[in-house]
């Protein structure tokens, strides 16, 4: 029953469940505990994502050195008590750069995912709800956009816009739009046929009000799944763009850039230059993917089982 309630939100609850007949309230801690028990891999992913968030937020406190400061005396220093993960060829502390790089990765990942998902979601909502020509035209545009792989489209955009954080966010968000649009549209297509929507129409409520007030809130489940799943891709694409030199510019520490040409040049002599940023990228992407999968299983009734 609890699960059924979670899929039916907003006005629909008021129409179907009389007040007082609902199940007892389940605490947040209990919900998390149940999620961890049912989806241990998802919980591990959540933990990794949480670690990423905490690292990004507390980067100033967690870093032991200035991540930008070069140090001619300690170039390519091995991991040591002074430099936990060693230093790069300019003498910059790898650990501090990874910690601050988490902030860059998270900002770029979250903002580009949100921007792409929100824009795509809006297009999907209007396209799915109104149908007809709006649907036809918007979906053909989506077809074109979706025909290009995420990395290729982001690469073309980033190269033409020039390397900067804002441009990277924009470049990654645009390829997300058609994915988000398709997911939200498919949800809207089923929701708009439901009885409570018909009832709302019967009461004379305007289309925009129905779309945004009664349809949109019910797409929140797929939206969360979508954003969590895209977060990993966005982090990976940011790393790839920075690796290729069209992403986040120096002096901001970026995991992708830490892996790029200069590091590759010294990798034989100082493997920690590529090892630790590589691990950081892997863990962040792995974590958000695991969490996204688990959330999808939990929030999507077709995959919930039983």
């Amino acid at each position: 029953m609890a699960d059924k309630r979670s899929t039916v939100t907003g006005d629909a609850i008021e129409l179907t469940l009389p007040v007082g007949l609902g199940l007892p309230r389940v605490g947040f801690g209990t919900t998390i505990w149940r999620f961890c028990r049912r989806k241990p891999l998802g919980a591990a992913g959540g933990l990794l994502t949480l670690a990423l968030v905490v690292t990004a937020v507390l980067a100033n406190f967690l870093a032991t050195q200035d991540p930008i400061a070069t140090d001619a005396v300690h170039t390519l220093a091995r991991p040591s008590p002074q430099f936990w993960l060693g230093t790069d060829h300019l003498g910059r502390d790898i650990y501090s750069r990874i910690v601050h790089g988490a902030r860059v990765s998270l900002i770029v990942g979250v903002l580009s995912t949100l921007l792409g998902s929100v824009l795509g979601g809006l297009i999907g909502l209007l396209s799915g709800y109104f149908g007809g020509r709006i649907d036809l035209i918007s979906q053909r545009v989506m077809d074109i956009l979706q025909g290009l792989p995420l990395l290729v489209l982001a690469l073309v955009m980033s190269a033409s816009l020039g390397p900067s954080i804002q441009n990277v966010i924009l470049a990654i968000s645009i390829p997300i739009i058609p994915r988000a649009g398709r997911v939200i549209r498919s949800s809207v297509l089923s929701i708009r046929e439901m009885q409570y929507i018909e009832a709302a129409r019967g009461l004379g409520i305007g289309h925009l009000r129905i779309a945004f007030r009664h349809v949109l809130p019910n797409t929140i489940g797929p939206f969360i799944v979508l954003t969590t799943a895209q977060l990993g891709s966005a982090i990976l694409v940011e790393a790839a763009l920075s690796f290729l030199g069209v992403g986040v510019p120096e002096p901001y520490p970026s995991w992708g850039r830490m892996l790029s040409v200069s590091a590759a040049e010294y990798a034989q002599k100082a493997p920690w230059l590529v090892l630790f940023p590589g691990i950081a990228i892997s863990l962040a992407v792995f974590g958000s993917n695991l969490l996204g999968d688990a959330l999808r299983d939990t929030l999507d009734p077709r995959l919930r089982g039983g």
Partner: protein, 538 residues
Amino acid sequence: MSRFPRLALVLGLAGLSAVTGLTAIPAVGQAPKSGGVLNIMQREDPPQGFSIHETATISTVWPGMPCFNNLVLFDPLKKTESMDTIIGELAEKWSWQDNYRNLVFFLRKDVKWHDGKPFTSKDVKYTFDMVREAPDAQAKLRINPRKDWYANVEKIEAADPYTVVFHLKRPQPSLLMMLASGYSPVYPAHVPPAELRTTCVGTGPFKLKEWKKGEYIDFVKNADYFVKGRPYLDGLRYIPIQERGTKFAALQSGRLDVAFPGDASKTIADQVTKAEPRIKLTIAHQNVNDNLLLNVTKPPFNNVKVRQAISMAIDRRAAVQAVHQGGAVVGASLAPRPYGVWGLLEKDLAGLPGYGKSADEKARARKLLIEAGFGPANPLKVEMATRNIPIYIDLASFVISELRQVGVEATLKQIETAQWHPLATRKEYQAGPNLTGIGPDDPDANFYENYACGSPRNYTGYCDEQVMKMIDQQSQELDPKKRVQMVWNVQKKLEEDAARPMIDWRLEHYLQWQYVKNLIPHQSIYNYGRMQEVWLDK
């Protein structure tokens, strides 16, 4: 000749600074073997094709040189370039006349262009009138980076088909050094310069066979070459590979025989020679410096105090260690000794802004910034622009870190190479960590190209009448000892004005397989790519 009645007499009496042709060059060590194709590393497709006069990058000079000849050239078999190592190519002999005001070249008569047409003095006049943008020049270059090398040339006269005279406004001994650079080939008068961007018609030891962009540039031996018995090789193949790891793996595996000049860092060179001991490492000098461009035409860098503060903030010795892992040396605007002839001595450097103890210099920088109106409450904010290439970005990261230590907040804008040069020429930037390569190790070549008022390559816009006067004075000084002193004074003044703060001079770590003979790195990477003397011992 009738216009120069004194010429024959002067030539006879004054004696010729005659140098015999290249046929006299001996092979070093064992007897050279003919045959084989040399596989050569190329950094990228040559941006200006083979039009060397239109380029400012080794990417064009390196594959362009085997196609052409100069009037004179630095001896390819001698690693040190100087007036004494200049040998004739298209010029059999040459002579300074009228106290270094006229330079007369006597040309070879047996030279043909690759298309079979004869080479004459008209080709020489055509080429250098075009480069100096003479009013009656028959052609125009699209880009002309070294126009100011020839600003002192009053006129060029093709006295007869095999004699050409450069008339100068004032004495300028350095003209010969500039003409001996790989940047100074003679173009064919019957071929428009635009065509040389896609094909190559020269007189050089190798003819262009095919250029397949992104794959290879193939040259074949010029069977009609005027130096008998040369070249030794049957052909050359330049293979462009951009990614540094890949290209040096290709060298290590034997797919390439020789490296691209200036591409191997000290770390890479150490790794490659350790992995493959049959690859030979030669440490030389690149004649390429790291510097910081400050746009003096706009605030805040039109204020000399701000420029000096920026210069003082940069620890040069730390740059050598951090950016180059020790593979560079500190120097002012001309290459330091022992790699160069004109560089300031260590004791003179120590007194210049930015060359003292780092902590003291940074303290002085902060003081100057406060005097200029910048402090913790109102920090100087600078947008750096640099090419989107790792060696530039590493330098920029280092500079930004140094500037932060004196309270300057710098950000970095990475720019594609194709956009960088027009942007720098138009001075649409605030500051830019930069690499500057100079053809020959010569004060005129450097000063007129990079510091002269109005020069297209004077990216900073620095223009000072007093400095121009000092540059002109040293240029016409015939006593080498006096001239060195004058050149030092110019360098000191440039550093004091922070006209273009020098950071360091790159050392060359040149890699080639041991079986490649007679490819000898010089003190400048721009002058030894002719490949005429190179042979393979395998």
